[in-house]
């Protein structure tokens, strides 16, 4: 037993080091820092302030706004992304000519850099850009300076772009899930004369639940941390400030309040953890397979 212990420790050393120095220690460091008023401009004057950062944060209208925007982002993009991904997966599931091409094309945006996509869409959304032209053709009023320069449309434009980008990735996961459903189930339903939609709702969807849960959880964790798009496209202006951008602004620009920003980071952390747990339990109810 002892020999194995040293062996395991030896082999797992890279991970242990990474875990300790990149995750555990920084996590604790950030937690402690959240209870101080550490400011990079005055590193020697840092002192313990207990929960003051947290109470200030919850009274800070900018932070509350960031929370609101982040929730809008999450609650707006996740259902849309999941449903679109499912539809795409269903469409692409059966073999047909050119299926591989379609599948690849849908998937490609999701492995492209978010910075690149944000740059492209900054142009498409600008005043006189293609999307503005398309919108006015359909009759939607375009904000005067482009979609990103208006409180009402900026955040939603970024959300739409995010959905566009992510669907391909989740489509693949749904595809894998669809593949794992045994064909016999469908055959039995066929013979019993069950229609398409009935099959969809009684067989496919219930059996996709674990996959859907997986998608939900990772999409949630990722969406709550939305930052790159905001940074490249709007820098938090026009009501697009999200929580990670708030943390960035408070901790790395202008005021360099590392303590305050760390507390904000932990509030986000808790929110994400709570959401993940809730999702886990809600969708984990054990059901008989058929």
């Amino acid at each position: 037993m002892n020999r194995s212990l040293t062996k395991v420790l030896g082999f797992a050393l890279p991970w242990s080091l990474t875990f300790l120095f990149v995750w555990l220690f920084p996590l604790v460091y950030a937690l402690v820092m959240g209870f101080t008023d550490y400011n990079l401009l005055r590193p020697d004057e840092a002192k313990w302030v207990g929960f003051q950062n947290y109470s200030t944060l919850l009274a800070d209208p900018d932070f509350i706004n960031a929370i609101k925007n982040t929730f809008i982002f999450v609650l707006g993009t996740i259902p849309a992304t999941t449903i679109m991904a499912l539809i795409m997966a269903l469409l692409v599931n059966r073999s047909f000519k050119g299926r591989g091409l379609f599948r690849s094309a849908y998937f490609l945006p999701s492995i492209t850099s978010l910075v690149v996509i944000s740059l492209i869409f900054t142009n498409l959304y600008q005043r006189g850009g293609y999307i503005a032209q398309l919108a006015s053709m359909i009759g939607i009023t375009v904000p005067e300076y482009g979609f990103l320069y208006d409180n009402a449309t900026a955040l939603y434009s970024i959300m739409a772009m995010d959905v566009w980008m992510s669907v391909g990735y989740y489509m693949l996961i749904f595809l894998a899930g669809l593949k794992s459903i045994p064909d016999e189930l469908y055959e039995v339903a066929e013979i019993s004369g069950v229609g398409y939609f009935r099959k969809l709702f009684s067989i496919t969807l219930p059996l996709l639940k674990p996959v859907a849960l997986f998608i939900l959880v990772i999409n949630t964790i990722k969406s709550f941390q939305v930052f790159v798009e905001i940074f490249v496209m709007s820098k938090g202006k026009f009501d697009t400030m999200t929580m990670v951008y708030f943390i960035y602004e408070k901790g790395f620009t202008t005021t360099l309040q590392s303590g305050y920003a760390s507390a904000a980071a932990y509030i986000l952390f808790i929110i994400i953890a709570v959401f993940s747990i809730i999702q886990f339990f809600l969708l984990r109810r054990k059901e008989p397979l058929w």
Binding site: L5, K7, V8, L9, F11, A12, P14, W15, F19, V22, W23, P26, L27, Y29, A30, M33, L40, L91, S104, Y106, L108, I111, T112, S113, L114, V115, V116, L119, I120, T122, N123, L124, Y130, W164, V167, G168, Y169, I173, A176, G177, P210, V211, L213, F214, I221, F224, Q225, V228, F231, V232, V244, I247, G251, F252, S262, A265, Y266, F269, I272, S276
Partner: protein
């Protein structure tokens, strides 16, 4: 099942519509990258403009983009190789040897997989000063050398491998080192390929941490450099898209070559849940 032609047509229509929407922005990017510098990007210009590599030339001459590309490549390769080595080692240790520390170690891997990484931006930033790696290439490499996804993937794979070959080698008196690298590693190639691709994509496109942990221009990676170029007064869309194409091309090429591995890597995690 006999599908009515209407069904087939409407399905194809839908597929094509989605294809256009999904492909257009990226196709636009490539088209603009090949336009003469400074020309308008109106819809007509897409078709009427000449095809030229001018934007790339201007971009390379006027900015550090080639250095950014170089940095991304170097960091990408080092991180991928590091991950292959270290994740493999760790996964092997956890899969093949049982001890009391296995469960806690594995749980630590799972925990880290669930932790949102934003929580690290401030501590890693501050700690990078103390350790002296701020604004050096090490900040882009060291924290990312052992990715928990990699450990997870490879461990699953190794657990499904028969131990016969290793045991035979051990009886023959081969050292652990030899067993590890000459016997098990070659067997793990598929999993390691998936790992390499996952890690490469994550790393190639990553923005937040490279941005925060570096500041000098010569150290920027491509995404960070592109984001800064956007703020440049003298950069026009053609050059910006040229730079963006550089960020997308490797991904595109890799995707075409390694499609199967990419797909299996993404789906493996999902299904095994």
């Amino acid at each position: 099942m006999v599908k009515s032609p209407i069904r087939a047509i409407s399905k194809y229509f839908l597929l094509l519509a989605m294809l256009t929407v999904m492909v257009f922005p990226l196709a636009w990017m490539f088209r603009v990258a090949l336009m003469p510098v400074g020309s308008s990007v109106s819809f007509d210009a897409l078709f009427e403009s000449a095809l030229t590599l001018d934007a790339f030339r201007a971009l390379f001459a006027g900015t550090n983009t080639l250095k950014y590309l170089f940095n991304s490549i170097v960091v990408g390769v080092v991180v991928v190789l590091g991950n292959i080595l270290f994740c493999f080692m760790t996964a092997y240790g956890l899969a093949r040897f049982k001890s009391i520390i296995n469960k806690p170690l594995f749980i630590s891997v799972i925990i880290v997989l669930m932790i949102p990484s934003h929580i690290l931006i401030i501590p890693l930033y501050l700690l990078s000063f103390k350790v002296g790696i701020y604004d050096t290439i090490w900040a882009l490499i060291l924290p990312w050398l052992v990715n928990p996804i990699g450990i997870f993937l490879v461990k699953q794979y190794i657990e499904n491998l028969p131990t016969s070959m290793e045991e035979a080698a051990r009886i023959d008196g081969a050292s652990e080192f030899r067993i590890l690298f000459q016997i098990v590693m070659p067997l793990c190639k598929p999993a390691l390929a998936v790992l390499a691709i996952q890690v490469f994509f994550t790393n190639w496109n990553s923005f937040l941490f490279p941005y925060i942990l570096t500041s000098k221009d010569s150290l920027k990676t491509l995404p960070v450099g592109l984001a800064h170029l956007q703020g440049h007064q003298a950069i026009d869309w053609q050059q910006l898209m040229a730079g963006s194409s550089l960020a997308v091309l490797p991904v595109l090429i890799l995707f075409v070559i390694m499609q199967r591995h990419i797909v299996s890597g993404i789906t493996a995690g999902a299904i095994k849940q």
